[in-house]
Symmetry: C2
Subunit: 455 residues, 2 copies
């Protein structure tokens, strides 16, 4: 609508400056050393909500990092949209691969480079600025609530307690989340599913101390070798996951669904070129999009053991470690899969080493019904600003709290993501295109308008 487009055009520089200020706060939820930064960031989010026109905004302490809640209720008879987002970010390591400081945002070629620019500060902040737009231009057509947490990147360990204890506060008609991406600005898309997550850590112990690899080498099981063998055994020659029962609960996509997915624009050559790999990899019998969308996966996220410094050290180490996570699809259960992976690693532990495996965090998969009015409102909003209907896609990432929202609040969730796959989420040089940031702020008010009128 012209009225909010004009308002946004006039204020766009300030919108950007405000986001940059938020990105300067190193709100890394996984690191205890950033605990105070998390509080600073929560305060900034609260202030941002109040400045944007929220009537109330509150910081709720949890056993971990605080939750920020804010609202603008204009008429209890109108539908209420609950916006969920998160102000915490992933750790910035490896620092040496960043071209600029992860918490010192730099704008280059129309892109904002900073940790959290796309995931998720830049995206939830679009909703804050959309609220301001609607308030200032008198176009707010729904009630709006904000639930911005600080523990999404560590599995939202305290959000469930908060949600269960505050059902009335969070009462709404739909949950709207911008924490996913679209195919491209030319091919707007909406994620209709997020994968679940099971994340574990494995510790393999061989001898009770680091040994001289000459004196003892050959006579004692090496925990790195044993861990490597265990990891190697997780995929067979077709890259199927071998953990017993892993695929038991997977809902296989129908041929019709798969045919529809195959229509989404995807250039395997470009994809491989962008990643700098000669060939793509994955489970036999599935396309790349299917491998990241409708199929569960197992990835090693980190491994370490022995001497990792400069030069050479002839050590047979006492311990080796790995961080391993699985992405899950409907109807897999995070709890069940976590138990299966842990059991697998402990049960295949070779003689001569002991294996401890423990859970980091998990989350359930979620899917938005494409024929729901919630999805339709989002699709119409995208069509209004992009000039074409969005393509429904299955995203590869995870938003662990979705299944809980549906269960506890009885609400449908719509994912309106304005990022791109190339945003380097969780990687060095994370970025968010400024044009996407503005496009999001312009599109979101349409969602509220279409959703209000569909009620």
């Amino acid at each position: 609508m012209q009225v909010w487009k004009d308002y946004q055009e006039k204020n766009k520089d300030r919108f950007l400056e405000e986001l940059l200020a938020l990105l300067r706060i190193p709100s890394v939820s996984a690191r205890t050393e950033n605990k105070n930064d998390m509080l600073t960031c929560a305060e900034a989010v609260k202030k941002g909500l109040l400045d944007a026109g929220a009537t109330t905004a509150t910081i709720y302490p949890t056993e971990g990092h605080p939750i920020v809640y804010g609202e603008k209720i204009i008429d209890p008879a109108l539908p209420t949209v609950l916006v969920y987002g998160h102000y915490d970010v992933q750790p910035a390591d490896p620092l040496e691969l960043w071209n600029s400081g992860p918490f010192d945002p730099v704008i280059k070629d129309g892109k904002i480079y900073a940790r959290g620019s796309a995931d998720d500060k830049g995206q939830f902040y679009m909703h804050v600025k959309a609220l301001e737009t609607m308030v200032e231009t008198g176009t707010l057509s729904t009630n709006i609530k904000f639930l911005i947490e600080g523990e999404e990147e560590v599995g939202s360990p305290n959000l469930a307690t908060f949600v269960k204890a505050n059902k009335a506060l969070l009462d709404a008609n739909v949950i709207l989340i911008s924490d996913t991406s679209m195919i491209s600005m030319e091919n707007p898309s909406i994620d209709i599913g997020v994968r679940g997550l099971s994340y574990i850590e494995v510790e393999v112990t061989g001898p009770n101390r680091d040994l001289h690899s000459g004196v003892y080498g050959g006579a004692v099981a090496n925990p790195i070798t044993m861990l490597s063998k265990m990891i190697a055994s997780c995929h067979d020659e077709n890259n199927h996951i071998t953990i017993p029962g892993f695929y038991d609960d997977v809902v296989e996509s129908t041929d019709i669904e798969r045919a529809k997915m195959a229509e989404a624009p995807f250039d395997a050559t470009e994809y491989a070129k962008d990643l700098g790999v000669q060939t793509l990899w994955g489970e036999k019998g599935y396309s790349s999009n299917e491998r990241t969308g409708i199929r569960p996966t197992l990835e090693v996220n980190g491994i370490w053991g022995g001497y990792t410094g400069e030069g050479a050290k002839t050590v047979l180490p006492s311990k080796a470690f790995a961080k391993i996570s699985c992405r899950l699809v409907p109807n897999q259960s995070s709890e069940v899969i976590t138990e299966k992976i842990i059991n697998y690693f402990t049960s295949i532990a070779p003689a001569g080493v002991t294996v401890k495996a423990s859970e980091h965090h998990g989350g359930e998969p979620y899917m938005t019904p494409i024929d729901s009015k919630e999805y339709q409102a989002a699709a119409s909003a995208i069509a209004a600003t992009f000039g074409k209907d969005p393509i429904p896609v299955r995203g590869g990432g995870s938003i662990p709290i979705c299944a809980l929202f549906e269960k506890e609040l009885g609400l449908k969730i719509v994912f309106m993501g304005f990022g791109l796959d190339s945003d380097n989420l969780h990687s060095p040089n994370e970025k968010f295109d400024i044009v996407n940031f503005y496009k999001g702020i312009e599109t979101i008010p349409y969602f509220h308008q279409f959703y209000a009128s569909s009620k």
Copy 2:
């Protein structure tokens, strides 16, 4: 002999103090940050030699760390013993596992705890104090030369050049090295062989940047998984090494040799208990002593990749690395094996990743003929102070320069080690028993005496 025993008894406290001073210098050859400490240590070695009665002592610069040479020539007609040792030490990591500072020597229960206490400062310094003893008591019966280098722990990259250029300087009749261990004080032994070494580093690159493991997981080869598969493939189910041609040049021990080895005292239950493992591990068909003595091995000394910090990060990393070394036995060639391992890793690189493998350093295996007069002089010296004949054993470690010494100088090498396998060489809490230090100083003059009279 009573005369040198008396002298040593009177000076033993000073001998120990001097060693502790040497141990306080963090002479880690692998770390560039310790470059100045290496110079300081070389100066200390030079001063130690002159103080002990060497007529000359010189520091020879190399392209890496300097070599210290010293000598005491009493009569060109007498035989000359060339003592080889090294003043450099292994890195001290992981520091958090040390009970006291690695370069802040602590004496506890009659043991000196410090990096380098046994490997090799404490052991080469026995020869320095033996020289002092023989000079001061007028019992020196051979000429004596010292070659103490600073790059043994990084494969002696510059010693070959020095040896080739200084054959006259190093001219001698036998090389004597104390850089090995004995079974126990009750079961003195002499190493008649050291294993060779091939040490490589492997770098596996998948995508050109760290990726979000949800967005890309399942569609791109994970370098950690691929590296694990490659490492896992290096041993078969019998723990034989699978690298093509790896065993081609191995000289198999005869049944008689193996029967003799089996006579050495070895308690597998105690061995496993000391290491804290439930079962031992190794190549099928060989005993533990054979696995560390007469058989070549392949050990992963370090592995790293992805996120290794606190908590969880859902990353599909760009790179993974491993440090891998093989111990070699007669008649394997370090150069040939290094080439075979490098070829193996690069040739089995799965599609979707690229593999770079490069050499760290290597060394050839060496064996002392048991019927040589050099070995016999050492055995008699041990018998004189321990009261029983030593057991000849095959050691698992490597002293890369031995084969070069034999080739360039045409000399036999005798290993008179006074350490114990439990000295935690290359590990946290490295120690050297004070009683072993003194026993070495007492025994060494006997070697010179017996060797001189056998001439």
